[in-house]
Symmetry: C2
Subunit: 242 residues, 2 copies
């Protein structure tokens, strides 16, 4: 009947001596024998049990669970299933987190200076976004980002303020929404909007909900935005009525 000392066993299993000490300490695996000097001697039964422990650990079980399974063999199938389910939940949570991180990174990308304030602001904006869009919609928006490409996105984002300026100018000049110049602006407006929503009406609704409930988004005053959107709305109505 062969025996092994901690060091040998550690080398064979890839565990550390400390780990074996630990298992001994918590009573998960205590060697059957000791030398007169107190050195641990593991017998074949011990090695077998250690293999089982390693196997269960490789499935991510906590040491207490390992002990429980080895002790009363508690319905392993159910245990494994529950473990898998918990793990998948965790994975989903982390997946969402990773998506957030990506969005934040994307939001920071074209902000040239990145002060802490900027970072916080971006995070909070993303957080707010998540309240208006469902996960599916976020997914959809992400896919669209990839499809249209970063370059075009930057173009569009640069285009918005210019367009808003022009609309604001006409609005303040009191130009009739039916005026051809305003009609042209409305067409450009709807084009940009369509590029964002991808034609999805759900996205469009969510986006307008943002402007209705927030006071400021991405540095743009929401009240003014609502005004402008109203003006554009009238222009559209006038355009389709004619």
């Amino acid at each position: 009947m062969r025996t092994w000392k901690v060091g040998e066993l550690a080398k064979q299993t890839g565990l550390t001596v400390r780990t074996l000490h630990h298992y001994d300490q918590i009573g998960l695996l205590s060697p059957s024998h000791r030398t007169a000097a107190g050195h641990r001697l593991y017998g074949e039964v011990d090695v077998g049990r250690l293999q089982q422990i390693v196997s269960l650990r490789s499935l991510g079980f906590a040491l207490d669970d390992v002990r429980a399974v080895l002790r009363d063999g508690m319905a392993p199938l159910e245990v494994v299933r529950m473990h898998a389910a918990r793990l998948r939940e965790q994975i989903h949570a982390q997946q969402r987190l990773a998506d957030r991180l990506d969005r934040v990174a994307a939001g920071l990308e074209h902000a040239h200076r990145v002060s802490p304030d900027e970072l916080i602001h971006t995070i909070e904006e993303i957080t707010r976004m998540e309240q208006y869009y469902t996960p599916e919609q976020m997914e959809y928006l992400n896919q669209r980002r990839e499809i249209v490409g970063e370059a075009r996105i930057r173009e569009v984002e640069a285009e918005w303020p210019r367009l808003m300026d022009e609309v604001r100018a006409e609005m303040q000049a009191g130009t009739d929404p039916a005026d051809p110049r305003v009609q042209e602006l409305a067409r450009r407006w709807m084009g940009l909007l369509a590029e964002f929503t991808g034609g999805d009406p759900g996205i469009a609704r969510s986006a307008s909900a943002v402007w209705e409930n927030e006071t400021e988004v991405q540095g743009i005053n929401a009240a003014e935005m609502r005004e402008i959107m109203g003006y554009i709305g009238r222009a559209k109505a006038a355009g389709s009525a004619s």
Copy 2:
């Protein structure tokens, strides 16, 4: 200038009082004031900083990282990216783990009695499998499982031993591999094999590698399996030569 006490602040932010104590203790957020009795009084600046902390924590940053980012604003973009990358690695590792768990659960499903030994054995078998099949192949096999359905899988698994018995009988009887009966057995053999591999030659190679390197798989002696496979191979050769 308003101030808040810990309890109020905790209620507003959804954190616990203990958490705020902790942040104070580690010097991450210490209230600007205290009452004469020593009660914490947070000012507006403190609340702002707390918001930043909460934001960064919501991205999964460790408290030390939060401190670092707030202190020297260290290139947040890079930090966020690295964080996301690490997170995705973790996710992949956990994904693999979850897949293992599913496979183990599947392996246990049609083992009626589930002793600890059974469990360990299944785990070890799965572990060995993973050495022979690439992750892509595992993925492929999983998809095939879903497509053909559990019922058919159980049928096939029940069919193998019967077929092996028949082949073994002919082999021991010394039947010529060219014999029509053996030819029929060979056809059935190839059919079952094709159901497992799905026609993928890579899978077939990996599967045969298993039998070449192991001594026993799922209770079947590998040496005998190699013998039988040789016999089937000769039958195939005889069949195609004719």
